[in-house]
């Protein structure tokens, strides 16, 4: 996770300004040498900073302003609870063994260790016919999203949920799939935004959605917390089949599902139309350790019959060199029977946090969505501007949240509250919110 303290380059006042050339210091006084390399215009298209470093920076500003405040972060979705002992010690042992001749290992397979690929297939895709070799271990979903964009190239059209985790849009802009942003609506040209809100039960109206090559679909959803049910996912797969599209299904929060499908491959026919990405971050607390995976079924074919998996493998071999073997050792331990028990109890802890927060908002008469199948609550403040609500909550309760518009224009009246935190912080936060909002 990018730390605000090392964000030395960006002066605070340029946050959230519309795109502008950053002037060099002493403009006009001293002539600085410029290369003749034209700045990549796609990067110029990006509107603001990536959302989460922005939130980090605001937190830092706030802490400077109120050095004695006990800031509670329910903002960036970062796990807080320690790893199960068996997982941490597996990594410590693996690392230590690297200093012995017998235990030393060099380059690993770029696709990940055989054991881990097998364990992932068996743990998460049992009876779904996903083979080990269709599982590609990575250093996390955020990196995989960009590698998938590299794979797809600039000529693809994409559809995304609105609101959504910003990496799909930002990576799409960077790779050149989009046009400029429409400043009024906040939407990039060429991206199809599938609105998800209370009006449609947080599942897009597919019948009014145009065909795109790629459909990014995150469920359980970040930020709304909504987990699509079986019927909805069947619709989605059918829609993809009818249009010959590829679904990129982000299942990073699947283990939080109380009731309903966890993997897209639970839906018949999905292997022909979907790629699934996932992560150990929110399963095992690996946000800093960096481990995830992507499933690309062999049956997934391009228009000309070429298997997508072949090209993805090429990308993985050329643009990546494997996830850290130490992280992989930890991943394997977290999927052992003892490890997985420990991991699921962490998930339970966060789910209980979510329950507490849900009750709090309910008692305040605010509509809070999500929080049941995901560690996110999506709280509605009708008629408001989410950055204003964010600021007010921060100023008055020293709680960091994330303004809904950071996830897309449809998030404007919402605040995302994460359920990651130590229990006492969650309880304290609930108290403060109650005082502020009642």
């Amino acid at each position: 996770m990018f730390k605000a303290s090392s964000f030395g380059l960006m002066p605070c006042k340029t946050f959230l300004q519309p795109k502008s050339s950053i002037k060099t210091e002493d403009n006009g006084k001293v002539k600085f040498y410029h290369t003749k390399v034209v700045r990549n215009p796609k990067l110029e298209r990006l509107q603001y900073n990536y959302l989460f470093p922005e939130i980090s920076a605001r937190e830092l500003q706030h802490v400077k302003k109120y050095p004695n405040a006990r800031v509670i972060s329910l903002g960036i979705g970062d796990t807080t609870e320690p790893l199960p002992e068996v997982v941490a010690s597996s990594m410590a042992n693996y690392a230590h063994n690297l200093s012995t001749p017998a235990g030393y290992r060099g380059y690993g397979a770029e696709q990940g260790s055989k054991e881990l690929r097998k364990a992932i297939a068996e743990t998460f895709y049992k009876k779904m016919g996903i083979k080990d070799k269709e599982v590609f271990v990575s250093d996390g979903a955020q990196c995989d999203i960009s590698r998938l964009q590299l794979l797809f190239g600039s000529n693809m059209s994409i559809a995304i949920q609105d609101p959504i985790f910003p990496a799909y849009i930002d990576s799409s802009v960077i790779i050149g799939q989009t046009g400029d942003v429409d400043t009024e609506s906040g939407r990039y040209q060429n991206i199809k935004y599938m609105k998800c809100g209370p009006h449609n039960g947080f599942f897009p109206n597919l019948w009014e959605t145009e065909r795109t090559d790629i459909i990014f679909f995150c469920s359980p959803n970040n930020p709304t917390g909504h987990a699509a049910n079986r019927e909805q996912l069947e619709q989605l797969v059918q829609f993809a089949q009818d249009n010959g599209s590829i679904i990129v299904y982000d299942s990073a929060y699947a283990v939080y599902v109380t009731d309903g499908p966890r993997s897209i491959y639970e839906i018949s026919g999905a292997k022909k139309v979907a790629i699934e990405i996932s992560s150990f971050s929110k399963i095992a607390g690996f946000t800093g350790v960096r481990l995830g995976w992507t499933v690309v079924p062999e049956e997934l074919l391009y228009l000309n019959g070429f298997p997508v998996i072949n090209d993805f493998n090429r990308i993985v071999c050329t643009c990546f060199n494997g996830a850290s073997r130490i992280a992989q050792a930890g991943g394997l331990a977290s999927l052992s029977s003892e490890g997985f028990k420990g991991v699921l109890s962490l998930v339970d802890h966060y789910k209980q946090n979510a329950e507490i927060l849900l009750e709090t908002f309910e008692s305040l008469g605010l509509k809070a969505y999500g929080g049941v199948n995901a560690p996110y609550l999506w709280v509605h403040f009708p008629g408001s501007n989410s950055w204003d609500v964010f600021n007010e909550i921060l100023e008055k309760t020293h709680i960091i949240t994330v303004p809904g518009s950071g996830f897309g224009p449809a998030g404007k009246e919402f605040i995302r509250v994460t359920a990651f935190g130590h229990r006492e912080d969650i309880i304290e936060a609930s108290k403060r919110l109650t005082s502020l909002l009642s």
Binding site: H34, A95, S99, S245
Partner: protein, 439 residues
Amino acid sequence: MSVIQQNLSTSMASSASIFIANYSFENNKSTNISIPGKFKAVVKCVAAPERTAYKTKVSRNENMAKLQAGYLFPEIARRKAAHMLKHPDAQVISLGIGDTTEPIPEVITSAMSKQLRASIASTYYADLGLDESDIFVSDGAKSDISRLQVLFGSKVRIAVQDPSYPAYVDSSVILGQTGLFQKDIEQFEKIEYMKCTPENGFFPDLSTVGRTDVIFFCSPNNPTGYAASRDQLTRLVQFAKENGSIIVYDSAYAMYVSDDSPRSIFEIPGAKEVALEVSSFSKYAGFTGVRLGWTAVPKELLYSDGFPVAKDFNRIVCTCFNGASNIAQAGGVACVSPEGIKAMHEVVGFYKENTSIIVDTFDSLGFKVYGGKNAPYVWVYFPGQSSWDVFSEILERTDVVVTPGSGFGPGGEGFIRVSAFGHRENVLEACERFKQLYK
């Protein structure tokens, strides 16, 4: 199930990329596919006469189709695996893929967490005017190279040394910076290949090099082992300045420099305005599997409109990446502690001794040998021979894996790269076998 599908299964398991160029699935058609590299076998592809497989309507990224074959090193790994299957009792020694073999010094593995960026800056760039804010820690140089390509975008043109580490060219193709592969000259259209041969002392004749936006330059060089001199790098920086180009300087082997050749491009005055530098803990601390490296982007490096390159790189790093593993970073902090630096020098020293042994061996056999002084690679000349043939012959007859020079570009044809990573006894044994083969 077609032969291609079967090929998929075995090679996936052995972690090799699919070494098959363009083909199309057409039912009831039998296609002979010849694998590049003059490999003798021919794979017969027969599509199964079953019901037609469902295809999406998504067109394949045409840049991927330009790539000629799989990434080089999985192909080497595939060949090694095939060889081992064929000769299960052979004691295969790998001096092919440049993978470290010696354990990581204990001081590094028992690390505590501290500020890595500051330590890298003070260890490698102390008197060169770079500080912690210029350092971006990564999961390794290979990933950084692709992130830099994403940063530059599809409209830039690159120059590479010929021969060079394949990731520069391959990532350029993937990003759409190049045209098609021209089989006759074995070059991609729109890439400027800067030939590095014994004739020009392994430093390009810059007067013959056309202007490109980006110049990839690796020194000490993989695969030739040559480290550019201060004078040469000064000319390179000058060249970049005159052309307004950006140098991507790959210094992954800097700690192997034995003489007074520069270790960082930033030792050259003016370099901060034209260069960024990529490096890695892989070959210093044996972190090939741990995954840790860095890229240094000076604040003075500006695009044509004055926008700082570092700002955009930061954006890429925030959006397309989520940091190197914190455990690897903890190890990195120990690497750049005083004890850790000493330990890394010992590791490097060990591989350098291996290198000497290999150099002496080929010398004594009467070969023209290059590199091996400032890098863990020995570049051996086999005039008039196809390097893939020499590779195959060495593998077949000595069970030693090396890397064919043409895998690094047309300028590598006629050469074999022997890497010096290995347990001492394996290196000695391999050299014995070379002596037997070539006596």
